[in-house]
Symmetry: C2
Subunit: 351 residues, 2 copies
Amino acid sequence: MYLKNVKTFAIIIEKENWGMIMVTIKDIAKKLGISYTTVSRALNGKPGVSQETVEKVLKEARKMGYQPNAIARGLVKKYTNTIGLVIADITNPYYPSIARGVEDAARKIGYNVFLCNTNYNKENEQSYLKTLQEQRVDGIIINPAKDDSPNVYDLQTPMVLINSPSYGGNNSTIEVDNKRGGFLATEHLIKSGYKRIAFIGGDIASYSNGRRFEGYKEALKEYNYPVDESIIAYGSFKTKSGYAIIERLLKLENPPDAVFAGNDVIALGILHYAQDKGIKVPEDFGVVGFDNVGFSELPQIQLTTIDQPKYYIGKLAFEILMEEIRNKEERFVKKIVLEPELVIRKTTRGK
Amino acid sequence: MYLKNVKTFAIIIEKENWGMIMVTIKDIAKKLGISYTTVSRALNGKPGVSQETVEKVLKEARKMGYQPNAIARGLVKKYTNTIGLVIADITNPYYPSIARGVEDAARKIGYNVFLCNTNYNKENEQSYLKTLQEQRVDGIIINPAKDDSPNVYDLQTPMVLINSPSYGGNNSTIEVDNKRGGFLATEHLIKSGYKRIAFIGGDIASYSNGRRFEGYKEALKEYNYPVDESIIAYGSFKTKSGYAIIERLLKLENPPDAVFAGNDVIALGILHYAQDKGIKVPEDFGVVGFDNVGFSELPQIQLTTIDQPKYYIGKLAFEILMEEIRNKEERFVKKIVLEPELVIRKTTRGK
DNA sequence: ATGAAAGCGCTAACAT
DNA sequence: ATGTTAGCGCTTTCAT
């Protein structure tokens, strides 16, 4: 089963073993003829050990290749210096940026992060949450898979939610102002002279998508455009979905001449269809996405979109989480909303 | 400092606390008036407990909201059900695919994965390796940051290397046949009728890049093309680097009419430059990349490239790692080489 | 300045 | 079938 596509499966060396002879503080205490309490103190720079002893211990520790056991420490100290990051799919370019933000911030203070991909699946999410708690992570950052059933996250563990309202659990949240973003996107389309603007969303159960849709409707109203159900559609957050839906909408007797897509990935599918059919973008057809994901700025794509500070969101989420971890009793629940920004590129006429 | 771009920073609820009253097997034993060993046995489905007791325990555990403590278990059982995944940058689309492969495979057997981004930095890598060992991960999968100084990874921990030879440490490795890939790419360019084929690599210290270059040279020789140093260049694995280098090469008095790029990200920069300058691809200029990253197949890009089974590599790396973890004494070091595949798209004339 | 002892939550002998 | 004990590697009182 391995062997599919395997060219070489060779060079087998026998009996190479891993040496699992981990040295402990007891070992180095014995070697030095002192108590292991002293070793512990020396290793941790605690007061009450003579300079001389400290040096002896440090030297011996290095010599013996001592590696502190974070597991044992965690057992007594009640924290693990680890957090969990639960996202839908690291393969969607939106998430890696957030993940980097979280991880860079974490690393700076010696924290580790467990990466968990739910693959947009609620059961996977629950399962991961359970595991993370068993691993006694100090906190969790989560971008919920869906928001159809209320996300009641009242775990024993500090938690901050990204792009999701907090139901019941009183968790801190951080999100971009999705409604405002939706408004900006739609308004831009209107001001660019497009007349029939469709909305093509992803999962209808997505909170952020819903907010973007509200912004869309608000803009239409403000500019006296009708809200036409026939050119409003939901699918999934996939390129294929965008492609399939725009194909359908464009066959309507009264087709749209522009679309605000639920995110960049969907917008990409729309662009793909336009290209396949030789539809001129932005002259005859306008599209704006959401997220300002990496590929959106490619010269070949140049997608007009709504930017959100992804890396910063990850960083901020971690910082807030740390605050909550540090002040477990007497914490302050925060609801943070960041400003989105319209990025005009080549898939709309501009003004 | 938080406040940049922050719209709302509000809704503050005071004194919401995390209830850190974790229930242990002792608690449920006390409640039930039995020994905690019995509880442990019941919870783990071990023999020697009456059906009746098992049910009582399970019920009470659920009722009290018991969460097993994986830390404590790890301390006695000597394994943590956790591995580390060390890569350069999750933001480079090549890695998420691998990460998914690893994580999906891990999840299937209840393993967690620590994600570590070295950001192409050797010091970060060392630091992460240290931390991972302290956390007593059961194993490590690593795609080394660089290969200039030999990667001597003889840790106490089982380890498999991706895209890197193993120096000294006798670790199993898994890689695509980079040389063959380089050959295929270059040969394709030759057969497509391009006459002066440049090579634009990433980090000169990269092992995989070096192999690709060897394949490039081999193909040139086989078809009696000269190997011309003036159109061979290295930079970094970034789009910008590709852009800058091709700009320079194209100003040569004898410029190339095609290029084999060290990876797709670099190729993208080259394409970018061609577009900026109105150079016709593939008619007047051919480019092939390496990796077949997600964006390469976008209709707007359609990059000819060398595919490698990224997800599968991740999956395989995990499976091999698990084998090594399970057979620590008497392990078999494996060197696996996978077959790359030429994917012809629109940035070369084809045959 | 150093050591002895207890204990974190659990599993695994070793009884009974 | 159940309980007792020891111990994983460490930190933290409490002595000395």
